[in-house]
């Protein structure tokens, strides 16, 4: 088991190397001169040259890549031309906000999706089944940013019970930083005011992001539950008198979770890569906003850094899913 994890982690290295080459090449070969942007429209050729030298842009591209790579392993991810700060520091600043948003969205989707899917399967063609089916169709079809706007209209403009955007009021003090997740940090420090405020800010963007995974989890869970309910072993369990509750929540649930799990893993990465629009609509200071800004200003170090980080998280979440898969499906574990 531990050897398997180590092997999988080692496999990450060549994948990330390959990815870094591709992203680096694309970012560097795109038209446009980042040095010119950084130096400003009125810069003299001398200033431009010094800026190019400062960022190593005057060297041949393969050499630039080599410099980048050696820096990468030492924690030097280059400097953002735009923020003028080390990319690594920027990512450390913006990553928790994105992770918190994605985690909250997935939590909502899982906590609601699994029981709803289960219930829809048990009371097939009942009222609940029709409602969830309609909502999930909507959830899959509706773009997230549009849903975000709808939520703002409803909860902010009409009901006026939640803040419009941001992660925390600018004039206020966020909770003491431990993990960078405001909700967890305020819990850890017992700062109930900060907890309430950060939850209120988190609610709408997380909801907007959760609808699509929620819809998929419900559909997946419903389908796999229906399939499991028809298995012979469920008949055996019923024939031997086990209660429907025990059969459903223990013996069916674990079997039905296996296929749902794969979807959950895929969605984590899908959400991570797709936070941009939601972060823009809600002005959420996360990696998505950071990356957008970087792309618009042809600031390619942050673009590469963000891409690598998202890839790492994606690969790690797939690893976790594979491990969980073994928990739910013993046959996989032993092979």
């Amino acid at each position: 088991m531990i050897r398997y994890v180590i092997r999988r982690l080692l496999l990450l290295v060549p994948m990330l190397l390959g990815l870094s080459v591709i992203v680096f090449a694309i970012a560097r070969l795109l038209p446009g001169d980042p040095a010119a942007l950084a130096a400003g429209p009125n810069a003299t050729p001398e200033v431009l040259a010094s800026v190019q030298r400062e960022f190593g842009l005057d060297k041949p591209i393969p050499l630039q890549y080599w410099d980048y790579l050696t820096g990468l392993v030492q924690g030097d991810w280059g400097v953002s031309i735009f923020t003028r700060r080390p990319v690594f520091e920027d990512i450390v600043t913006f990553l928790p906000a994105t992770l918190e948003l994605v985690a909250a969205a997935m939590l909502i989707a899982i906590v609601l999706g699994i029981p709803l899917g289960l219930a829809a399967a048990v009371w097939r063609n009942g009222v609940l089944d029709y409602v969830t089916r309609t909502v999930s169709l909507g959830g899959i079809a509706m773009p997230r940013f549009f849903l975000g706007l709808l939520l703002q209209l409803c909860f902010v403009t009409w009901l006026d019970i939640l803040p419009l955007s941001g992660r925390f009021p600018l004039i206020d003090l966020p909770p003491e930083e431990i993990t960078g997740f405001y909700t967890i940090d305020s819990l850890l420090t017992g700062d109930w005011y900060a907890l309430r405020v950060s939850l209120a800010h988190l609610a709408l963007p997380a909801l907007a992001m959760s609808l699509s995974p929620l819809a998929t989890i419900i559909r997946m869970m419903r389908a796999s539950t229906i399939e499991v309910l028809q298995q012979d072993y469920i008949m055996t369990e019923r024939a031997l008198g086990l209660s429907s509750r025990l059969i459903l929540f223990k013996y069916v649930l674990k079997n039905a979770m296996t296929s749902t799990l794969t979807v959950i893993g895929l969605y984590v990465s899908w959400l991570l890569g797709g936070t941009v629009l939601v972060e823009t609509v809600f002005d959420w200071p996360g990696l998505g906003l950071y990356a957008t800004q970087a792309i618009l200003s042809q600031d390619f170090m942050p673009v590469i850094g963000v891409t690598l980080v998202i890839a790492i998280i994606y690969l790690l979440s797939m690893l976790i899913v594979d491990l969980l898969y073994g928990v739910f499906n013993p046959k996989v574990r032993s092979s």
Binding site: Q231, D232, Y233, I234, M235, T236, E237, R238, A239, L240, G241, L242, S243, L246, K250, Y251, K254, N255, T258, F328, N329, P330, K331, S334
Partner: protein, 294 residues
């Protein structure tokens, strides 16, 4: 009072094409100590008869047009679901055909055995050898002990270690032994086995049949052994019911029915089975077989 008494059972099943009557006036009476074989070709309604006894056919798919099933006096077709659960696992044990699909693959063998034992003990604490006021913990521990015992009894070696293994780690024959353990752990009074050896190798079939026979003799319970193999019936059963297209053609002690079949269909069945055919005239009763085995 008979252990099981089925009277004039008529069952219709629903499907997309509509409702079709499947069982036509089934009559069957099983006493303790009797091993009934139910034979008949595929689709003749054997399985649905077996499932009806524990009322396991969902109301959405099956409807009883007439008849009654009485188990130790309980009116099965009109009992509440609660009353039925008291019978299932505790009074009526069931074994199904395919051991590869009838064990839940995601759980350890012990988990399923323990749950069945705990369920049976809810209605009869003596299943675990405990008094009525044992704590949850005590009951769990006792259930595990009984499960290990039961695994040993059905011929699993190293039951203490194997109880924590998963179904896929066992061969088909071993899995069928585990299903037998699950069916017998609640100390049922009636065992219904629906083609328990059909999916197994011929060499394993004989072992499983012998095992079932041993357990049955030990406890003096009634058995309904569903099979399409008259050889099995000849070897194992004391009585036989021959089914054909949802009807019981003839019933009676094995010796009588197999020696002097009164029905042309039974004669055809007998003729179709070479082992029985060649042995015709020297069919042996169950006592002889056990004398030989012991």
């Amino acid at each position: 009072m008979s252990l099981l008494e089925i009277t004039n059972l008529n069952l219709a099943m629903r499907s997309y094409e509509g409702e079709t009557q499947i069982l036509h006036g089934i009559d069957l009476k099983i006493e303790r100590g009797e091993i009934w074989g139910m034979v008949g070709e595929t689709g003749s309604g054997k399985s649905l008869t077996g499932l009806s006894i524990s009322r396991l056919i969902p109301a959405a798919t099956g409807r009883y047009l007439a008849g009654s099933i009485r188990f130790e006096g309980t009116d099965v077709l009109n009992a509440t679901e609660r009353e039925m659960r008291k019978l299932r696992g505790r009074k009526i044990g069931m074994i199904f055909q395919d051991p590869t699909t009838n064990l839940n693959p995601a759980f350890r063998i012990g988990t399923q055995l323990v749950d069945v034992a705990l369920h049976a003990a809810e209605h009869d604490p003596s299943v675990l050898g405990l008094s009525g006021n044992a704590s949850r913990r005590e009951r769990r521990r006792a259930a595990r002990r009984v499960a290990i015992e039961m695994l040993g009894k059905v011929g699993i070696s190293d039951p203490i270690e194997r109880i924590d293994a998963y179904p896929h780690q066992f061969s088909g024959g071993m899995r069928q032994r585990m299903l037998i353990a699950m069916a017998m752990i609640g100390k049922p009074d009636l065992l219904i086995a629906d083609e328990p050896t059909t999916a197994l190798d011929v060499s394993v079939q004989a072992q499983i049949l012998k095992l079932i026979h041993q357990l049955v003799l030990e406890r003096d319970i009634g058995v309904l052994m569903i099979t399409h193999n008259l050889g099995v019936v000849a070897q194992l059963c004391s009585h036989v019911a021959v089914m054909y297209r949802g009807r019981i053609l003839e019933t009676g002690p094995v010796r009588t029915v197999l020696k002097q079949p009164s029905h042309a269909y039974t004669r055809a069945l007998l003729a179709a089975i070479p082992t029985v055919h060649t042995k015709r005239g020297e069919l042996r009763g169950i006592g002889d077989i056990m004398a030989e085995a012991g």
